[in-house]
Symmetry: C2
Amino acid sequence: MIRPQAPRSVTKTRAKVRPVASRGKPGAAPKSQESGGTDGHGISPLAPAAQKPLPPVAGVRLASAAAGIKYSARTDVMLAELAPGTQVAGVFTRSKAPSAPVDWCRTKLARGTARGLVVNSGNANAFTGQAGKTTTRAVAQAAAAALACPLSEVFLASTGVIGEPLPAEKITKVLPQLCNGAVNESWEAAARAIMTTDTYPKLATASARIAGTKVTINGIAKGSGMIAPDMATMLAFVFTDAAIPAAVLQDLLSDGVAKSFNCITVDSDTSTSDTLLLFATGQGRPHPRVTRASDPGLADFRRKLDAVLLDLALKVVRDGEGAQKLIEVGVSGAKSDASAHRIAMSIANSPLVKTAIAGGDANWGRIVMAVGKAGEPADRDRLKIAFGGHVVAEAGARARRYDEAKASAAVALRSVKIAVDIGLGRGRARVWTCDLTEGYIHINGAYRS
Amino acid sequence: MIRPQAPRSVTKTRAKVRPVASRGKPGAAPKSQESGGTDGHGISPLAPAAQKPLPPVAGVRLASAAAGIKYSARTDVMLAELAPGTQVAGVFTRSKAPSAPVDWCRTKLARGTARGLVVNSGNANAFTGQAGKTTTRAVAQAAAAALACPLSEVFLASTGVIGEPLPAEKITKVLPQLCNGAVNESWEAAARAIMTTDTYPKLATASARIAGTKVTINGIAKGSGMIAPDMATMLAFVFTDAAIPAAVLQDLLSDGVAKSFNCITVDSDTSTSDTLLLFATGQGRPHPRVTRASDPGLADFRRKLDAVLLDLALKVVRDGEGAQKLIEVGVSGAKSDASAHRIAMSIANSPLVKTAIAGGDANWGRIVMAVGKAGEPADRDRLKIAFGGHVVAEAGARARRYDEAKASAAVALRSVKIAVDIGLGRGRARVWTCDLTEGYIHINGAYRS
C-alpha cells in the first residue's frame, strides 16, 4: 500500500525555496524538506517558479509532523492553531458520498468560530463507516483538549486513499507535539504535509486593504488528481488576519470559489473530500467593522481573496497528474454565463481534446465535438474557434486564413489557450485544465497498490 | 495527415474469417482484406473470436471501393443497394454540431423509404460548412442517378477527421463501379470499409421469426474512440429482409438503442457523426403484416434485433481505443432506472476507475467517488459494491469479508464485472466500458497529424 517515494530530485529542486518560521521565530528545519508527494515522475513541468516565503498571518500558528499514516520519511499531519475568536467559512464537495471529516466540518461550521484545523494526508477517511466517524470525533476531542477549546471549534480534513480505516491514534499521538509549540513552521512546510500525489507544495499570498488598513491573506492547497471540484477542490485553506464575521466570509468565499476552484478540472472526477476553509483571525491591525460582503470597504479584500483562490486553483491544475501543458478554455457568446461554463467544462473534460493537446495536435475538430456534446444551445454555423489567438474555424467550417503552422505553434506551448465563441449571446466563462498524458495512466494505474 | 497503416498481422489474423458474396454470387476478393484501421497497436485483445460469415439478406447488395479519401491501400467507401420499397428508421447523435450527413439523413428519414446507403471513412464531413452540404448533395445526386431512385431515398454517413473539407468527387468517382455490380461483397468487406481506428470489423447476425416465418437480421458497425453515444454510436447499419413499416421499425430501433448503444462508453466523448440506420427490405419470405411495435408477432424479432444491437455495441467497446479490459457496470437499488443509468455512466466514464482497472487495482474507493459525483440520490451508508461477485464494500465501509486477493483476481480478468447496489429503490441499469490505458493516449495524441 506504500507508494514509491519521491526521488531525491524533488528535495533538491525545491531546496531553493527557503523555509521560514511563520511568526518570525526561527523554527526547526521543516521535516517536509526531506519529503515529497510525487510518484517518481518528478516535479510537474508546469510548476510555478519558486516563490518567496509567505509572510506570517497574525493569529495563525502552524506545525506539522510525520505520523507514518501511509508514507514514510515525510510529514503527513498538519495543525493550524488559530487565535480565539477566529471566524470561519467553508465550502465542501457536493459528492453524495462525502468523507467523515467533510461531514464533521459541515456540522461545525454553523457556529462560525474556529480554534484549530487538523489535516492529514495518506488516508481520506472516506467511506469508512462508523469507524470513520469515531476517528474524526477522537481526533477532534484530542485536539480540543490540547488547544483548550470547545469540540465545535476544531476543523478536520483528510486526503488520500478512500475506504481504508484510519485509526485515530495515528494522529492523536502526534497532537501534543504539534500543539505544544515544539515546531513552528513555515507555510511551505504546512503545504508539504498535506500533499499526496502533488509534485510541489501550493501556496499563495496577497496583501489587501480594508478601508485603508493593510491585512494579509495566505492560502495553501493540495490536489493533483480526482480534480473536478463541484464546490472546492480536494483541500485548500486560506487564512487572513482581518476581522470579518463568518457570514460575510462565507459570502466572499462562495463568490470566489465560483470563479476559481469551480473552474478547474484535471480528470472530471469529483473527490469525496473536497474542502475549502477560510479563516479570519481578526489579529491584524484594527480596521473598521464590516458587516456585509457588499461593504465598499471590502472591495480590495474581495479582489485579493479572489486572486489567492485563483492562484491556488491554478497551482492545482498545473500539478494535474501527468500534466505537461496548462490549458485555458475561454467561452464567449453563449446564451448565459452558466451555459458558457458548461460548454467550457465539456471541452476541458474531453479526453480527446486533452490527448490532442498532449500530442501537440491543433485538432480543433475535437473542440467542435466537445461543444456539440455539451447539450447547451449552440449553432454549428456560428461557432468560432481560436488557438492562442489564431482563428482556426468560423462560420461552420475551417477558417479561410487557417494556418496549420500557426495553429500547431499555439498548441506546442506549455500554456495553451483555446477560445470558443458560440455566437448566440453574451454568456462567458473561463476554465482551466491540463493535458491528458501517459503520466496520468502511470500514476493512476498504481496509486493504491 | 496519413495515419500509420495497419501492420500485416491485422490481415493475417483476420484472414481466417472467410468472406462470402452477399447474394450468393461469388464476388471478387474483397479489397479490404488488404487493409485495416489500426494505428500500429494491433488488434484489440478483447476482439471477439472469428465469426462465421454472415448470411445474405434478400434485397441488400453490398460493394466497397478504395477511393483514397485519407488512407492508402484500403477500402474506404461502401455502398448498400436496397430493394425498392425498403423501409428505414434511424437514430442520430444529439450533438449540437452534427455532421453534414447526419443533417442529410434526418431530413430524408421522414419519408421512411430507402434505396441506397453510401458510407465513407477517413473524413467525417463534419464542421465543413456550406462545402459539406454541397458534398452530401452531390454524392446523393450521383448515387440517386446510378440507382435510378429519388434523391430522398439515398442515405449517407461519413466518419473520420472532423473539419477537413471532403470533395464529392472522391466518392462520386467510385460510385459507378460500386453501383454497376462490379463487386458484390461480403458483409465483412463492407464492415472493413467503414473502419477508422477500429482494429477489427464489427458484425452481428441473428435469425428471428415473425409469426412463424424466419427472417434474417444482419448488422455492421464501426467505432473505437469518441464513443459515448447519446443516441447511437458512430456508425452502425442493420438490415433485415422482413417487411416492417418504417414507423414500427423506428419504435423497435429506439427501444433497442436505449439498451445497447446508449449503454456503452469508451471515453465520454460523443461523436458529431453518430448514426444508426435500420433497413427492412421486405424481400424475405412473406409473413403476416405487422402494424405496431407491440404486435405479438414481433416479439421474437424484437428480442433478436435487441441482441444484434447489443452485440454490435459490445464489439465497439471491445475495440475501445487502447482497451485491454472490458468492464461491465451493473447498478441496482437506485431510485429509478434512469438514475441507475446515470450512476452507472458516472462510474464507466471515470478516468480514475478506468485507470485503476487497467492497473489491476481493485480500488473500490474510486467507485464510491464515482457514485458520489453522479449527483443522483445515493446514501453512502447503504452502498454495496462487488467486483466479480466478491463484495468489497457495504454499509458505508469496507466489507467484513473483504479479501484483497479475491478482489484483485476479479479485476485481473479480461472481463471485469462491477456491481453496485445503491440500496434505495428498484432502479437498475447495466452499461459497458473499457479500461483507460496508455494505448488510448498514444492513439489520440497523434490521430490527426
